[in-house]
């Protein structure tokens, strides 16, 4: 029964970081083909398809026609960058319910190459009722997360140096990823001496902007066991939405508290059991908040938790984002959830770069946050295990 009825059997990450000469639909198709071929299947085996607003046209229908998919189940849940981790949850539910056998999830974007800097890939803000009360003040993502970081420093004594350690750890990992946009190892001093973008966040506290994308394929275990790839099982999942509640604002925590509570309860494990964590890293403060909200440390202790290399594989207690993450590797469509899944699966398969591979990695978490921690956002948590 659910959640043991769905395994991740195929993954693929597009190597491009600036998608010149390729259309958005073809990017989605490329990552889809890459993931089904990784599984040893073909697109004709797919009968469930999951996508966010970054998919072109009307999403699932548009891409079903383009890729020639014969679908009996679709889901276009849109929770920003966390969408794809939610899709894994939904795909497992659909498979468990017999609604599909092979589920494909894609994410892709080309807004860097097309020079259309529209923020969250594919989202149309027309009619969003809060916009007239926010747009005029020009809250960009950095300003929104800067306000979250400012509040965290005020409430908990978090420092710029502590936040910088998140980027330092990501850069240690990215040096081993030939596709990463930023491969130079940086120091705490490099981060805090980089220009302020939105105080207290420096340029190096911010993720990269990139094109590219990725895909994930899930299937029921009877199909999965006959394939040649290592199997990764979804052991537990959870989702939640948090918002500004009519002005009853508390920026000290995120929806990750609730999504991870559900996921850990369903999996029957605790944060102490986790060997590797993929955590959404739109900004360094995002990681610190999520470490607290997922229970890797007490609320307010995130800054102290990340200091002194505690997130560096082979050095610290909790290796994170060993592909370099959004801070150094890529962030297609400003939607980092898909790449969080990909690196967690690589770790569980033992296919991460040898320099960052966690020994005997048996249990991992992939967690995403979509939207803004200073406004409305969705969180999704997936607990994945090697089987």
């Amino acid at each position: 029964m659910y959640p043991s009825d769905a395994n991740i059997i195929g993954i693929y990450e597009h190597p491009t970081r600036k998608a010149d000469g390729i259309s958005l639909a073809q990017l989605h198709a490329d990552v889809a083909k890459g993931a089904v071929e990784d599984a040893g299947l073909s697109l004709s085996d797919v009968d469930g398809y999951f996508c966010g607003a970054d998919a072109p046209g009307i999403g699932a229908m548009t891409m079903a026609q383009y890729m020639g998919l014969d679908l009996r189940y679709t889901d276009s849940t849109e929770t920003g960058g966390s969408s794809y981790i939610g899709h894994v949850h939904h795909a497992a539910l659909a498979i468990a319910a017999g609604k599909c056998d092979v589920a494909l999830i894609t994410c892709a974007d080309n807004q860097v190459a097309s020079r259309k800097f529209i923020g969250l890939g594919g989202v149309d803000w027309r009619g969003a009722p809060e916009q007239p009360f926010e747009d005029g003040y020009y809250f960009g993502p950095a300003a929104l997360y800067g306000m979250v970081a400012q509040r965290h420093m005020h409430e908990f004594g978090t420092t710029a140096e502590q936040m910088a350690w998140v980027k330092v750890a990501a850069s240690h990992h990215a040096q081993h990823n030939p596709n990463a946009l930023l491969r130079d190892v940086v120091t705490v001093e490099d981060v805090i001496s980089s220009p302020i973008v939105a105080s207290p966040l420096h340029r190096l506290d911010c993720c990269v902007m990139s094109d590219g994308g990725g895909a994930v394929v899930l299937a029921r275990p009877e199909i999965a066991k006959n394939l040649k790839r290592p199997n990764v099982r979804l052991r537990g999942a959870g989702e939640a939405v948090k918002h500004n509640a009519g002005g009853k604002v508390d920026l000290s925590y995120s929806a990750g508290c609730e999504s991870s509570r559900s996921a850990f309860a369903e999996a029957g494990v605790t944060p102490a059991d986790i060997r590797y964590a993929s955590l959404y890293d739109s900004f360094t403060i995002t990681v610190i908040m999520q470490l607290e909200d997922l229970g890797f440390c007490e609320k307010g202790e995130g800054g102290r938790f990340v200091a002194d290399g505690n997130l560096i594989s082979g050095v610290g207690k909790l290796p994170f984002n060993t592909d370099g993450g959004g801070l150094c590797n890529n962030h297609p469509g400003n939607r980092g959830g898909i790449t969080k899944l990909l690196e967690a699966v690589r770790q569980l398969r033992g296919e991460a770069h040898p320099a960052v591979q966690v020994p005997d990695c048996s249990l991992a978490v992939a967690h995403g946050t979509g939207g803004s921690l200073a406004g409305y956002h969705g969180s999704a948590t997936a607990i994945l295990e090697r089987v």
Partner: protein, 130 residues
């Protein structure tokens, strides 16, 4: 207000919230209050987001508050200090701090409402240090 900076674009005015922008044009900040649970809320809408009641009313805000959080940025074309301010009535709203030395802005600082003209619409409520 600062000189030599572009005006913010005018807000799009949804039909349910015209009293908010009409009041802003008169230099008044209004908030909505629920007659059922008696809580104030932002941004305005015809029903209470706390309890769902349709029994709501517009009321004049005191126009004072404290800074809940802020950021200093050169990336915004108009406002250098986007912020969230907790109104005397309780709710925390998105806004900006003006007429200030950004380096002196602090969480918990007392502020009062002011109004920033926009391109071709009603002004935006902003706050300045008391």
């Amino acid at each position: 207000m600062s000189e030599n900076v572009p005006l913010p674009k005018a807000p799009e005015i949804w039909p349910e919230v015209t009293p908010y922008w009409d009041a802003a044009a008169e230099g008044r900040l209004v908030v909505m209050r629920c007659l059922s649970c008696e809580k104030h809320y932002v941004h305005p809408r015809p029903f209470c987001p706390h309890c769902g009641s349709d029994r709501t009313e517009w009321c004049d805000a005191a126009g004072t508050g404290t800074i809940y959080t802020f950021t200093i940025t050169d990336r915004a074309p108009v406002f250098k200090v986007p912020a969230m301010v907790q109104l005397a009535e309780g709710p925390i709203m998105m806004t900006a701090i003006v007429d200030c030395d950004p380096a002196s802005v602090e969480i918990g600082q007392q502020v009062s409402v002011a109004f920033q003209p926009t391109e071709d619409g009603p002004p935006l409520p902003v706050f300045k240090p008391v």
